[in-house]
Symmetry: C2
Subunit: 328 residues, 2 copies
Amino acid sequence: MVKLTDVAAKAGCSVTTVSRVINNYGYISQKTRKKVHEAMRELNYQPNSVARSLQGKKTKLIGLIFPDVSNPFFGELVSKIEDQLFNHGYKTILCNAGSDTEKERTYLQMLMANQVDGIIAGAHNLGIEEYQRTGLPIVSFDRKLSDNIPIVSADNFKGGSLATQELYNHGARHIYFVGNPTLDGHPTQKRLLGYKETIKELQLTEHIHPVIFNETLALKEMAIKDLLENHKVDGIVASDDLTALLIMNISHELGIKIPKDLKIIGFDGSKVVRDFEPRLSTIVQPIPSIAQLLVKLLEKRIDNPTEKLDNYTYYLPVELLKRESSGN
Amino acid sequence: MVKLTDVAAKAGCSVTTVSRVINNYGYISQKTRKKVHEAMRELNYQPNSVARSLQGKKTKLIGLIFPDVSNPFFGELVSKIEDQLFNHGYKTILCNAGSDTEKERTYLQMLMANQVDGIIAGAHNLGIEEYQRTGLPIVSFDRKLSDNIPIVSADNFKGGSLATQELYNHGARHIYFVGNPTLDGHPTQKRLLGYKETIKELQLTEHIHPVIFNETLALKEMAIKDLLENHKVDGIVASDDLTALLIMNISHELGIKIPKDLKIIGFDGSKVVRDFEPRLSTIVQPIPSIAQLLVKLLEKRIDNPTEKLDNYTYYLPVELLKRESSGN
DNA sequence: TTGTAGGCGTTATCAA
DNA sequence: TTGATAACGCCTACAA
């Protein structure tokens, strides 16, 4: 490993000088600057960022804590965030927490130990305190952690409302909300609230059919089959696209025609789902904007950790994508 | 940030002693060991891994270079790798290289500078030399980099062959290979070879219809429409599942019945595609095994960089998943 | 404009 | 069984 002293020796000057030209700091004569650059090139010198970090500089490492990139929505979101971070000179440490509290806790420890410059939190098995205790700049996706941690999310409430209205507009009157019904500040909760309010406005009856997010496929299928076979339903607002796809598949199996007999709309609108299931109507989250805002806020926090923000809650607009499954 | 000296002060001993109990190294009396542990707990001490790394220890950081986690296949693969790495005590630096040579090169630099312990390379815009030059332990997914870099991949040749045979068994006689036809050692190349050989064995005529991987959706759709409208085709081996899905969708639009008029089979078999498009036949890559083997090999390289392996090429068995789209 | 030297938090060597 | 102290590679007062 070639180091500063090697470059200095080669260039015939002191390490200070070399350090100065690397960091563009203080006065340097053109001549020495050039000599140093040459030496660096010849030796193929690469500053050791570990040493740099130790000395007090930033690590330029950001921890990303999300449930799982094998889910297309999180895959795309993480991908966009990684790209933004890269453009800002940061490296991404990927932490798939799943629904594993212990893993998330361990990762939090590791991120502290590794002196990451900040954290983007998108998995939420852990409570506020554990995150606070890191003392690191944090921004959160889709869930409130505490008053002084900025949270970015799509306008889930509006999305739930738009989805419900869309089904109504196409004639559905027995509209179910299908998905995770948890009340713990989970993002789908707001989607459900949007659904509920719109149902009330439309003077319909609300129906909630739970399909738990981290259950097995078979259990989900069973729950959906039960819904379709034993309930009077002509419209479904799914809590997310994957659930919507499942419902479409099972409807097909059961001979239920979409959208004739049953109208359905999903939520998330990742590019993969949009491109490869063109019949599914959905509420599209603005993934690129979410990524951009998360990174922007985090960088602001890093550069100025104590500065109060004028806003700690950001709702990004969603978009209704009308397709066949909802009656178009 | 509480450090070793703080713990030492609290415990009433020297930093050496504290370091010793942390690393379980040398002789320590039970009494002091206990005192130190207490002090650590009280101060909530967390070793600084940056300092540790500088001093010569491993960073326990691994760089993952892959095209893009928003693709379900890579999303799942990266997810599994991350999990394996976590279980082995490593942190994952995620590098989505896309098809961007410059970004990949920059990431390689960063990984060197960050002193990662090793690299798992799954994107391949760059040549061998750039990877060799890092001097880091490397294992590769799905593409040969050089003689002394282990490569892990699914048995793509066998997969291409199985797929072709499956369509034939269900009556297809005009079987096309649709996808990336590049000849540069890209994994789909072997799938194509498997297709070709089987076509020959079956005494059919081979047909290759290029649909370039990183073209836009619209261009891909155009190419597929052209195929379906202007060619006599009753079977398609797609180079990957997403291409297969596209073909299924366009067939639907054009009123072509699957599998009656056209049989089709994909490649990859990520969990998302398997679970949410249950009609698609496909060749399933053993993603968890691939992840496990990659990590195992990498760790071996890290622990013993000079040791020769008895094998540098690993083909993991694929599985034919028979469903409706190929005629079942 | 350049160089010397001390320190970042840990580990490792050598004495005690 | 314990403790000074010198590295690790870099940055940055402070001096020259």
